[in-house]
């Protein structure tokens, strides 16, 4: 056990070292003038921009407001997709009739680039938050529904038979066997969906928003403020990771039997 902890610590340190080296190299590129400052701000400048925005905000918005706006839209759209997608997907997995009626639409929606219908959504719902949340919902929904449907279908037949033999009725089989059996695949779908939703929210903010990290990046690019652009990008990366990691943590905690089939 001690050996493993040692390895873990070493791995973490190595990771931090790699990031540190990357940042250092980045700083050197700027300091040595290898790339014009106008094109690539240095880490020091990005840091300064962070401090500046924390104190003065950016064009009337606080940093917190922008982060909250982006995350909020993403999470709301995602949760809506979960609320509708999981039950519908499960139902499609159980009922051939339901699958037959709905699957075409779900599979049609899935590969569509969200930006292709964003304009339509803005036309219908305006440039406020609702159209963006709607966009995220439509981005995440097909993946979640498909994963739920596949999840319920791949539940080990023998487990269902065992439950029937023990006297469980359909409702009990769903609750105690189908749903838990489908969870690993459902969560895999959730993880994919939240990543897709997050990149969509940024794209949507680039097009039509008045706050949010994506908006901040776009707005800064209009003013050639590469320090704020980079700050925005770094924050987006960090929060994207936070969202993913949170979902993974929930997954690992809830689905303790992953890998044991």
């Amino acid at each position: 056990m001690a050996k493993k902890k040692e390895l873990d610590i070493r791995a973490t340190l190595l990771g931090l070292l790699a990031v540190g080296v990357g940042v250092l190299a980045w700083q050197m590129i700027g300091t040595l003038g290898l790339v014009p400052k106008a094109l690539l701000a240095t880490p020091a400048e990005v840091w300064a921009a962070l401090i500046e925005i924390l104190h003065e905000g950016y064009r009337g918005t606080t940093l917190f407001e922008n982060i909250a706006a982006t995350l909020g839209r993403c999470i709301l759209g995602f949760l809506a997709a979960v609320a509708l997608g999981v039950p519908l997907g499960l139902w499609m997995g159980i009922s051939k009739m339901t699958e037959a009626s709905l699957n075409f639409m779900v599979q049609f929606l899935r590969p569509l680039p969200p930006l292709s219908y964003l304009v339509l959504l803005i036309l219908w719902f305006g440039i406020g938050d609702f159209s963006k949340i709607m966009l995220l919902f439509l981005t995440a929904f097909p993946t979640i529904a498909t994963a739920s449907m596949a999840g319920v279908r791949q539940v080990n037949r023998k487990r269902i038979d065992a439950a029937r033999s023990l006297g469980a009725n359909s409702r009990q089989i769903f609750h105690h066997v189908l749903l838990p059996g489908a969870l690993p695949m459902i969560f895999t779908g959730l993880r994919i969906a939240i990543a897709a939703a997050f990149s969509s929210v940024v794209a949507a903010e680039l097009m039509a928003a008045s706050n949010g990290l994506g908006w901040m990046v776009f707005s800064a690019s209009r003013n050639m403020r590469t320090d704020i652009i980079l700050l925005g990008i770094i924050l987006l990366g960090i929060f994207g990771m936070v969202l993913s990691r949170t979902l993974v943590a929930i997954d690992t905690h809830m689905i303790h039997w992953r890998g044991y089939d």
Binding site: D161, A163, R164, S165, L166, G167, P180, L183, H256, W257
Partner: protein, 259 residues
Amino acid sequence: MTIVSFEDLTVQFGSGADAVLALDHVSLSFNRGDFICIVGPSGCGKTTLLQTLAGFLPPTSGQVLFEGTKVDGPGPERGVVFQQPALFPWMTVAANAGFGPKVLGVDEAECDRRVERWLRLVGLWNFRNRYPYELSGGMQQRLAIVRALCNEPKLLLMDEPFGALDALTREKMQEELHSVWKRNGMTILFITHSVEEAVYLGTDVVVMSPRPGKIAQRIACPFAARDGERDIRSIKSNLEFVKMREEVLSLIWGMPHDN
């Protein structure tokens, strides 16, 4: 007192030229308290027979009667144990064991009582809060059997339940099953590839032949019902035992089977 009756049972898979006759007009009946072991080469229809009695497979013609009524689907009075334990990995050992009584609405205190009784009996009580994937193969199979037994079924159907276990564990399980059967007066239908296992456990050994599935012979078997000496080694090396085992094996070898 007859508990199960297969009456002129035929099960056909597919149709036309591709049809496979898994069971061909099979008739068999047995009584409460019997331990019926079914043996035979691959493809003789043993699993199909069990599946019709369990209620997973409908007959093509003929019928299967349980306590005089036609079998119409799976039910808790006919407990089933497969070769793969098919436990629920998201539930603890105790929750798995108590699943049957729980879904049948048995009173919680009674559920707990049964779970404790059976888990203690097979030595799993100390693992009641673990998960199935933390158990060894033998322990998992014990849990699968306990899960079926907590429903106090009148009939236990077992399809090669010890097939995936190592030789030592397998024999221990044979001994345990035998004593559970003896003590509770259960009726068991047991499918196995091992003739030795069948002769050791069964009150009757039913030998089936393949293509199409039929019953070749039914042999009354004295070893299970005997009281007294229960040392498994002396029983299995007993001359009478060996003779019977060899007779059944010769019977099976003489049949057409896949290579």
